[in-house]
């Protein structure tokens, strides 16, 4: 009943022409397919390469006044690993965003207190993000940190449980009060029940009923402490940086004409880099020093086997970000009129956002297999295979408008190896091991 629009083939012709223009000197011909010899980069290519390195200094987060306050970093780090934050006492942030597993995990779908619907994202360089989660439903790192606490499949807890934990544990209380001043008195359980949270889409939920029975002022007191807990976790996560990778060393060398530093990238990885910024068009979305545009695209990625592509992703994320009371424009933000709040006001929900997921950073990407929003791709090679062939890709949508750059790139085996070598070379220098475990105490001391 329909004509299939073979947009793919017509675009391929065009891209072929484009590729020729972008690649004055071909590098992946069989003649130099081995790993020997230097790879030359044109001035334009060099300009493009410089866009990716180094990672700039940590951007400020004025919505979180404790973002760079060491005591907040310490409390946040403690909470990040604290399993008491979960409903069953077995899950912490680190369960799914495990420092031993590239700040993600090996599961396809996230396994918190229950199984989620998406794959755990690696949380490297989160401080550089514009939006958070695969669907961008949080607009600040600290408001992001709040959502898994109450996610029924994640920590499965509630904000009332969290504030009671903070007030009943002396160390946590002391750490909190050191940063934010005295905790309110939450001891009256008739005013502050043990369990409860708002459940916006189900007002018959027991958690919601408890929450809505509370006074506005008491809700505000809880929300303030809850928000502060997120700000501490965010302060810690801002330290989880992936930088100083072999690629960064190479770029230093390229800039300064230092062949020793340039040797940090193998010839294969250099050829991969050339593809990345050239014919592969990878850089169009994986742009900038954090290798992401921070935005959302439909790459026609099919869901896990047996599942259906029913995740609306960014389409709902836009509404959630704007409706989140903990967003940058909300009353718990420390900068309600700044740039972070403004960016929310430029958002608009559009049908074409349906099924668009956020471009992930590629820094340290080799550490955090599997990949994609459901962990559909086990290895980097599988990811490259998708872009190479679009085998099994979803149709472009009955009425939709997918990213038109998504055409089969038809990589050779050598090209896939080169790209993979390049991606592996984005692995950052190791972090201080003390940053990657729960500290003995949540209380910071300068000693």
């Amino acid at each position: 009943m329909s004509t299939w629009i073979d947009r793919t083939s017509s675009r391929r012709v065009l891209l072929g022409g484009l590729a020729a223009a972008l690649l004055p000197c071909s590098t992946a011909s069989p003649a130099n397919a081995g790993d020997a010899g230097a790879v030359g980069f044109s001035p334009q290519e060099q300009e493009r390469i410089y866009q990716h390195s180094p990672l700039p200094p940590l951007p400020a987060d004025p919505t979180n006044r404790v973002a760079d306050f060491p005591p907040a970093v310490r409390l946040g780090q403690f909470l990040y690993f604290d399993r008491r934050l979960s409903a069953n006492g077995e899950v912490s942030c680190a369960t799914c965003h495990d420092p031993a597993k590239g700040l993600a995990d090996e599961n396809t779908l996230a396994e918190g207190v229950d199984t989620g619907t998406r794959h755990s994202q690696a949380v490297w360089n989160m401080a550089y993000n514009r939006w958070f989660f695969w669907d961008g439903r949080a607009d600040t790192l600290w408001s992001q940190a709040l959502i898994p606490t109450e996610g029924p499949a994640e920590l499965g807890s509630t904000r009332l449980q969290l504030i009671h934990l903070l007030s009943s544990d002396n160390a946590l209380r002391s750490a909190y009060e050191h940063i934010f001043g005295p905790l309110p008195n939450f001891s009256d359980e008739s005013r502050f029940p043990k369990v409860g949270r708002p459940v916006p889409d189900d007002d018959t939920h027991p958690h919601h009923r408890v929450w809505s029975s509370m006074d506005d002022a008491d809700q505000l007191a809880v929300n303030t402490v809850y928000a502060n807990s997120g700000k501490c976790v965010a302060a810690y996560e801002r330290r989880l940086l992936s930088k100083d990778s072999p690629f960064d060393v190479f770029v230093e060398g390229l800039r300064g004409g230092d062949p020793t530093k340039m040797a940090a990238l193998s010839a294969s990885a250099q050829r991969g880099l050339k593809l990345f910024i050239g014919r592969g068009n990878c850089r169009i979305c994986h742009s900038g020093p954090n290798f992401t545009d921070g935005e959302f695209h439909d790459i026609r990625m099919p869901p896990l086997p047996g599942q259906q592509p029913t995740d609306s992703a960014r389409y709902q994320g836009v509404v959630d970000a704007q409706g989140n009371p903990f967003n940058a424009a909300g009353q718990f933000s420390d900068d309600r009129e700044g740039a972070a709040a403004k960016k929310l006001s430029f958002l608009v929900q559009k049908p074409e956002q349906w099924g668009q997921f956020k471009t992930p950073s590629l820094r340290s990407v080799a550490l955090s297999a599997p990949y994609m929003h459901q962990g559909q791709k086990k290895t980097l090679r599988d990811v490259l295979h998708h872009y190479s062939t679009l085998e099994g890709a979803l149709p472009p949508g009955h009425h939709g408008q997918p990213e038109q750059l998504i055409v089969p790139l038809q990589f050779t085996i050598q090209e896939m190896e080169d790209l993979q070598a390049f991606l592996i070379a984005l692995t950052g220098a190791p972090l201080d091991p003390k940053l990657l475990e729960q500290p003995a105490s949540p209380v910071w001391s300068e000693l």
Partner: protein, 159 residues
């Protein structure tokens, strides 16, 4: 009284702008357009507009200034826009303006919906532009008057 004040102000603004802005060269890509030499500009008191051109049906001459200039890749930026008649003799304040941008080769545009505010000087300020990908962009100023909306468009290449 108030009305005549506004008229005076508009005329003044119009005069200043078309002297310093609308008489400049037709159009150009953001990267390519050099600034006019400072010496050629008698009154640098108002923003200088390197860039401008006729709208697609020739009704308006639109000049604009991105802030920063050139527009950055994947960072929000603002634009100041002035709409003149085609002959560039008059600044038009009785028009509505919306701003947008597309990447024709990608089949999509920006992820933001910019906000436009009319300025007291007869121009418009556009907030919330964001070119999140490198490549060829077309920036659109859609000018509305009496139910007719006409487009002025300009090419931008970001690499």
């Amino acid at each position: 009284m108030l009305e005549s004040n506004i008229q005076t102000r508009l005329l003044l603004a119009a005069a200043l702008v078309f002297w310093t802005g609308c008489q400049n060269r037709e159009t150009g890509s953001w990267q390519a357009a050099p600034r006019p030499s400072q010496a050629s500009i008698p009154q640098p008191a108002v923003p200088q507009f390197d860039l401008g051109g006729l709208s697609n049906d020739g009704t308006f001459y639109v000049c604009y200034q991105t802030k920063p200039d050139p527009p950055p890749l994947n960072e929000p930026f603002d634009v100041d826009v002035f709409v003149c008649n085609a002959a560039k003799t008059q600044l038009l304040a009785d028009v509505g303006l919306t701003a947008d941008a597309d990447m024709p080769a990608h089949g999509h545009g920006m992820n933001t919906l910019p906000k436009v505010q009319a300025l007291p000087n007869g121009g418009f300020s556009v907030e919330g532009m964001l070119f999140h990908m490198s490549g060829h962009w077309e920036i659109y100023f859609d000018i509305s008057r009496n139910g007719i909306t006409e487009r002025a468009q300009f090419d931008v290449h970001l690499d």
